[in-house]
């Protein structure tokens, strides 16, 4: 496996859904902007105006890729912060319309945490369940009369299932409830247009698509009621307080622009890797359950999750790590709280021996081959240690 395009020190990096590798275009832009965009963009001298210009150009680029207006786009310090501001800011502005947040059972933990915060502050939360693929039914996403805002991910971060966001938006808009779409998994992976998916607010995260860590994207569509739930200043249109990370934002825009130009060509290659895993794993590993939607149109192209019966997920991660393969897991033994992934639980999926494999622009067939070569023996060893024979 040596001599290939390794990521960091990892021979087979198969965890692009946790964080993508910094895009070379973003790296160049970041280094240039550290020199050119260092000054305070709120000031009026030459270097400050240049920082301002870089910030504005980045906003225009991101807005164009997402089908938004530049003044609808703000940059935050993370995707988590963007989701928090989207949800809590809308809940605050619409508190006279209602105090309830409606969300799916399979949202990212950052959305769930924002909803818990809202609940502790006296608000209400209603959770909509999902089917065996982790998908909501738009008809079940009917908001109770006191709903301030609803939140639905564009695609699921653990099982890649694409949600019927536009249909859910129609259900919500018929009764005047705005929708926040957490698009952290989809932006930079598949085309995302805020208008087409019916998003009133959208959040995304730069490091998920090849931008740097420390930059999130918040879109608040024009005319939507929103009030900063935190102390505000004049930065980012009053939506995100504090000195902006100009160089990181420039790199984010560069990454997103580059991704927009390459995902159409890349998607079939990545889908091919995932298809190969989907086809081979059931033959190579006994008692493996492939999770998520088998229909390629219903899921992101770059991610596959499966669970292995009678397997301790933490031990399996250790076996794979020793073989130079980096993946993630939703099994309980791999979490700090010792509870299994809420996504797998909501789907009614097997949670033990869970592995999420995600590929990206640096992945090649050898990464997938490495996993296929190592996994059957790794699973067998973990089962053998647990004394699993003939079950």
């Amino acid at each position: 496996m040596s001599g290939r395009n390794t990521v960091g020190s990892v021979p087979a990096y198969l965890d692009h859904a946790s964080t993508a590798v910094l895009h070379p275009t973003a790296r160049d832009a970041l280094l240039a902007a550290l020199d050119e965009g260092w000054a305070d963009p709120a000031r009026l001298y030459r270097d400050a105006r240049r920082a301002r210009m870089l910030l504005d150009a980045s906003r225009e680029t991101v807005a164009a890729v997402l089908g938004a207006r530049p003044d609808e786009v703000s940059f935050t310090s993370s995707g988590t912060q963007a989701a928090q501001l989207a949800l809590l800011g809308t809940a605050r502005a619409r508190r006279r319309a209602g105090t309830r947040i409606l969300l799916s059972a399979v949202e990212h933990s950052c959305v769930l945490h924002a909803a818990e915060w809202h609940e502790r502050a006296g608000g209400q939360v209603t959770t909509v369940g999902v089917d065996g693929f982790g998908r909501v039914d738009p008809a079940a996403f009917a908001p109770p009369p006191d709903t301030a805002v609803a939140s639905l991910q564009h695609a699921n971060h653990e099982v890649a299932t694409i949600q019927p966001v536009a249909a859910v938006a129609d259900v919500l808009h018929a009764v005047g409830v705005p929708l926040h779409v957490d698009a952290a998994m989809s932006v930079g992976r598949i085309p995302v247009d805020v208008q087409a998916i019916g998003a009133d607010l959208l959040s995304a995260s730069a490091h998920k698509f090849g931008g740097p860590a420390g930059v999130g994207i918040l879109v608040v569509r024009t005319g939507r009621r929103w009030a900063n739930p935190l102390p505000a200043d004049e930065r980012e249109g009053g939506r995100v307080a504090g000195f902006p990370n100009v160089a990181g934002i420039v790199a984010t825009a560069a990454a997103l622009h580059a991704r927009a130009g390459e995902i159409a060509d890349e998607a079939p290659r990545l889908a091919g890797y995932v298809d190969r895993l989907r086809a081979r794993l059931p033959h190579l590993v006994p008692d493996v359950e492939i999770l998520g939607d088998p229909d390629p149109a219903g899921r992101l192209p770059h991610l596959l999750t499966f669970s292995c019966l009678y397997v301790d997920g933490e031990s399996l991660l250790g076996e794979l790590d020793r073989a130079g393969i980096a993946v993630s897991s939703g099994s309980s033994c791999t979490s700090d709280t010792l509870t299994p992934s809420h996504v797998l639980a909501a789907m009614g999926a097997l949670t033990q021996g869970n592995i999420r494999v995600s590929v990206g622009r640096e992945s090649d067939a050898a990464d997938v081959d490495a996993l296929l070569a190592v996994l059957p023996d790794a699973v067998a060893r973990v089962r053998e240690r647990a004394g699993v024979v003939g079950l």
Binding site: S331, S332, T339, G348, Q352, A386, L391
Partner: protein, 86 residues
């Protein structure tokens, strides 16, 4: 609990106590002991691992066995009543 469910719990041939054992051990215990039953008979699994709440139903689905009922144990954990179908 209805009278009918109570009768079924009473029908359990034996109880497998997997409390204190972490995922995936309660499921391995369940898989080991179920074949001791005749077809149609039931056993009780006690487990306090949070993953068991999801993995017992998933295992029953994958192995075409029946999770008849569950109830909380008074001193922690959950009892799963499982019927051997195949």
């Amino acid at each position: 609990m209805t009278k009918g469910e109570s009768t079924v719990w009473h029908d359990a041939w034996f109880t497998v106590d997997a409390r204190g054992r972490r995922c995936p051990l309660p499921i391995i215990e369940l898989a080991r002991r179920l074949p001791e039953l005749g077809i149609g008979a039931v056993l009780v699994l006690w487990a306090d691992d949070p993953a068991a709440a999801f993995d017992v139903p998933a295992w029953c689905r994958m192995r075409a066995q029946e999770l008849v009922s569950t109830r909380e144990l008074t001193d922690g954990g959950t009892a799963y009543l499982v019927r051997r179908l195949t």
